[in-house]
Symmetry: C2
Subunit: 209 residues, 2 copies
Amino acid sequence: MKKQHVSEAVIRRLPRYYRYLGDLQAKGIVRISSNSLGSRMGITASQIRQDLSCFGEFGQQGYGYNVKELQTEIGHILGIENRHSIIVVGVGNLGHALMQNFHFAEIGFSLDAAFDVSPSLVGTTVNGVLVRDMEELDAYCRDHLPDVAVLTVPQSAAQPITNRLVALGVRGFWNFTNKEISSDSADIQVESVHFADSLLTLSYRISKR
Amino acid sequence: MKKQHVSEAVIRRLPRYYRYLGDLQAKGIVRISSNSLGSRMGITASQIRQDLSCFGEFGQQGYGYNVKELQTEIGHILGIENRHSIIVVGVGNLGHALMQNFHFAEIGFSLDAAFDVSPSLVGTTVNGVLVRDMEELDAYCRDHLPDVAVLTVPQSAAQPITNRLVALGVRGFWNFTNKEISSDSADIQVESVHFADSLLTLSYRISKR
């Protein structure tokens, strides 16, 4: 599959397609038209067809999409089968909550290790994953080369830890620090979760009336 | 200020403008052109001008935008001055993390109460906020009518708690349950934080090569 340039907006919609198609499957729905999928998702049918056309041909005129097949294809595009390895750096409340409740494996990630500085946490396990001492981070990364680090450290540690992990070969960062992180390496991908952006859109909507 | 119809995409960009303008202020930058702001944010100058034109006239030809003024205006559009009241429902790891680390007040929210079923949590305070028994939820909401509920309850409780809160007059929901919630009331606004969507976009980006 040859990929053309895919816009940020399309990339952001792919996981939503994946999620909605999963919900449809859970409801036992086998096929769906782009109109019907679009109306559930609040986008137009032509938007869906245009988005998917970036990646190939999907669905059949007059039939629509096979829900399971399309979800599998989109999962493939998203790299779910790659079984990316991921580590959690910082096991405070948020890191702990993600380890306990977030289903990494369901979207193709293997949560392999966690790190913290606190002696009261090091050596414990959360949801079956051992919390290691931050001093072991370098050796661990050299041995296992994880694909992604979840950054749930204090803000002041965000950039220094990022630099350290980049030097160790980690190229994906899931950043929860509410601080922008950056790197000179072109190869680095950062996805930041900005809670404030989310709550502010809600503020806008409830302020409108 | 008369508001025209504002698209979802524009609404989603407003908090980002707000955040970038705050960062610029913190760096002591007083004014900025739409070109320069756009290149920092990865969008075009004409996109910025078009977005802002939904809400009025901002900036001056040849001068650009006054950073502080524009941030204040966008904060106003987002309803930051409304001092919305917010309660946390479910003080597990995630609820606790938000109460401890998220700066509600900085974006105009007043975190007034939290609720949980666990006897070991009820009566404790987190970051100065009392955790109350879920049995007090109805009486509290009738007395204080909070604007927004943060839903950090288990998935099975998501919809029942939503129904209960809607009946009590709560109209805004910041939903962390990874489950879609809905309501028959037209007036209800739900903002869901989908962690999986975020991590899947990162999966896509690191899978591309």
